[in-house]
Symmetry: C3
Subunit: 343 residues, 3 copies
């Protein structure tokens, strides 16, 4: 796909400042810009790249005033950031999308498939599964018995959904996601453990995106529940009976232990751990690698393991780095006090 | 499946207190109880839910004395907790189990398959593999050449077992588990690394459960060894030549580096890390997110990174939170001592 | 495969000290040696095992002088460590390698496959994919549209490579690896998040090994880039637009957030976390479980979360363990100073 600068400007309601006929066929980052690509400048910190970039076209805010000479063609728009997001979405929308049913694939007779499906080769759809309209099921995906998948959801290659789980509309499940494996429940019995059967399921509401190789366990009873709009990154662990509130965002490799309830609009960094049976208030933000071991009120901002108030943690950690110095000071004082006492 | 309260009571040797004819068709948690479901009250902390739950039937200990009015039918049993575990197991046992060989699947001519197998579509069983009786191999599973799987083991969808590995009887491997990938062994050679071939295998003994997307690497030589009754949660990493002792339980996202030997009956929290070449005594308990960098005697209870004695860690961490205050105190004392000296 | 001690000695340019006709058919670790196996002694720390091992043959340095009696046959070589590495490689090279195209597999008409391929059953190769010579693609692997794979690369079972990604020559991708899932990019829009399309790809250069279930996300624009010779362990997370420099080694469960650039020849322990948009200098070493939150100069050696100079961290942590004692000392001093002042 090739575009002239003037066509892109027209598309975005922008103005060309340079050669309107120059052609681009891809986008690039301004610091890595190559001829034939379009880059953008949204953050003033990157302005110096405008004067050296090899990109043929650069989107800039209409207020941009160059301080030096530059070689590229500019397109001036209201907001360069919004414009590039629009272009990315257009580019994405124009990419060919798979459709149809590839063979061999395995669809149980009692499964129901909506309109305009894509079912990739070696996909498996179990008994009584209900697949909505316009769902894309990539190759080697496993949809267990009785699973429901809502309209417009994309399930990438190799996702495994155990029986009885429910996935909403317009969700994206990335490769290797596992929904509905047994919760980690064992009762001690003498010197060994006896498995507690896990007969619940996982319910994922609409507009949820789940990253590659993330695992969400089924509930012991009832449902492990991921509310609408939640975004989970790769390699996240969600244990049985956890509830994640709407529009909460959780970065990679974070783990949430059983039955913990996370409120809406929380943001967790990577590699965070939460123990089980907690309640985390809405709007809580947790720094990467923190550990949460108690209930948390709304809108908390936390760091540490165990985590506490973020700015306080920062102060404590500054002091942690001074500990050898503090210890020396303490020993000195001890001597001086002994001296004073002896006088 | 529907049951009357009186039938459940008969099954459990309990007594109905309320309507013996009320019908339930599922179980629920007492705090989320819905009409037509059975809940249970084992922990006195949840007693107040009895008076408000929508569940039709609640299992209680026979000694339970209600303090308020309630709407549900009670079934009084010796132990509500044991009774619900019994019911869950019965429910689990009654769920239909897959059986037979679905097509297309790939079974090498030289593989041997025991009685009553389930082999899901798109499963692959390599040359010389030996599969015991009553084994369930879900779709898209890869069983490499020469792998042995014991009787009654369940291998969920998409598990990958490299050649030569051994899995015992009555094991459960959840979706996405990888057994027998190469250990992470490289020898420096000039400015780059040369791979050290990994020619050992993984041996998993009987009654082991392995969580979704957990990885256990093959040994460089010999075997990476998971003893009987071990329970591994999701996304755990077990490196080459590690030994995990019998009935040890390891929570999600924990990692154990090469050649470390973990004793029996240990319990590790989530996101714990152990460096290589250590010996961890039997019965050791390690708190979540801890890091282990030295050999550990039996029955230790540890926290921190590096970890040390749990109660001592708790005290140190309390002090860590007081560090800014301590620093202020120290500075004040310094001034006062300087004052005293100048007098 | 069976070998006589004299044949192995000839192969390695070594000298037999004992029975030249003794036969071995496998290798073992000296501490676990069994009759019929060959073990080695490279580290003097393990010397005592020579006198008790059941291994039939032990490779030793030619300078080895036994202090006690021993039962095994010795083969004396220049370097026992190099010799065992040579033997492991020979053993590995002699193992039968899969080849040919198993059915059913799915190869798009527009894909091109090089010479001597192995394509396992249920593998999927998308439109326009280009597979080099002597590539091994194990069962249930997904190679998306337009993916390029270089000569001599091994892709184990169940790897998923999204469209447009590039894998170099002589790479090894272990089971469950996901390359090219969408970067974790969302723009807030009112009370929820809007997905930022991720139109870049992943480029993996030559001689890279990637561990089981590791995830490398595609770039928002441009490429997430893994340079030649990089070794990634299992369950590692590499976010969008990250660059990992040549011959860098990263242990299991480490995560690198978006756009961070890691230099050449770095070594990261397990469970390390790096926040986004950082630059990590070449030759940096980071201890396990550390957290990196700022740019790092070349050849740094770091520990902690946030991490700082390793030896300094060690000192601070020693003091952390003394905090309750320090606090007591401080309180005592405070009293004594108050006493002194009152006099």
């Amino acid at each position: 796909m090739e575009f002239k600068a003037k066509d892109i400007a027209a598309l975005l309601g922008g103005v060309v400042d340079g050669d309107p006929e120059v052609i681009v066929n891809n986008v690039s980052k301004i610091e890595e810009g190559k001829p034939g690509t379009l880059a953008f400048l949204a953050n003033p910190k990157y302005e110096h790249y405008v004067y050296t970039t090899q990109a043929s076209v650069v989107l800039v805010n209409k207020t941009f005033e160059p301080a030096h000479e530059y070689a590229c063609t500019l397109i001036r728009v209201e907001s360069a950031y919004d414009a590039i997001a629009t272009l990315l979405q257009m580019y994405e929308d124009m990419r060919p999308k798979p459709q149809g049913i590839e063979q061999p694939s395995y669809v149980s007779e009692s499964a129901t498939i909506g309109e305009k499906p894509y079912i990739g080769a070696f996909a498996y759809i179990g008994k009584g599964a209900k697949i909505g309209n316009n769902v894309k099921i990539y190759p080697q995906t496993y949809i267990g018995d009785g699973v429901t998948v809502g309209d417009d959801t994309i399930i990438y290659a190799g996702v495994k959904i155990y029986s009885g789980c429910v996935v909403g509309k317009s969700c994206i499940l990335h490769a290797g996601v596992v929904l509905g494996a047994d919760g980690f429940g064992f009762a001690p019995e003498g010197d060994h453990y006896k498995k507690v059967p896990q007969i619940g399921n996982v319910v994922v509401e609409d507009n949820v995106e789940i990253g590659a190789n993330t695992c969400i366990d089924r509930a012991t009873m009832g449902s492990t529940l991921i509310h609408k709009g939640v975004k989970l990154d790769n390699l996240v662990q969600i244990a049985h009976n956890v509830v994640v509130g709407g529009n909460t965002v959780i970065a990679a490799q974070t783990g949430i232990a059983g039955t913990t309830k996370v409120g809406e609009n929380c943001v967790f960094g990577g590699q965070v751990g939460l123990v089980g049976h907690l309640t985390i208030g809405a709007g809580t933000q947790i720094a990467a690698q923190s550990g949460i071991t108690s209930n948390i009120p709304e809108k908390s901002v936390l760091r540490g393991s165990p985590a506490f108030d973020y700015p306080k943690y920062q102060k404590c950690y500054v002091m942690f780095r001074k500990l050898p110095e503090m210890y020396g000071l303490l020993r000195d004082l001890e001597k001086e006090v002994a001296n004073l006492k002896s006088k």
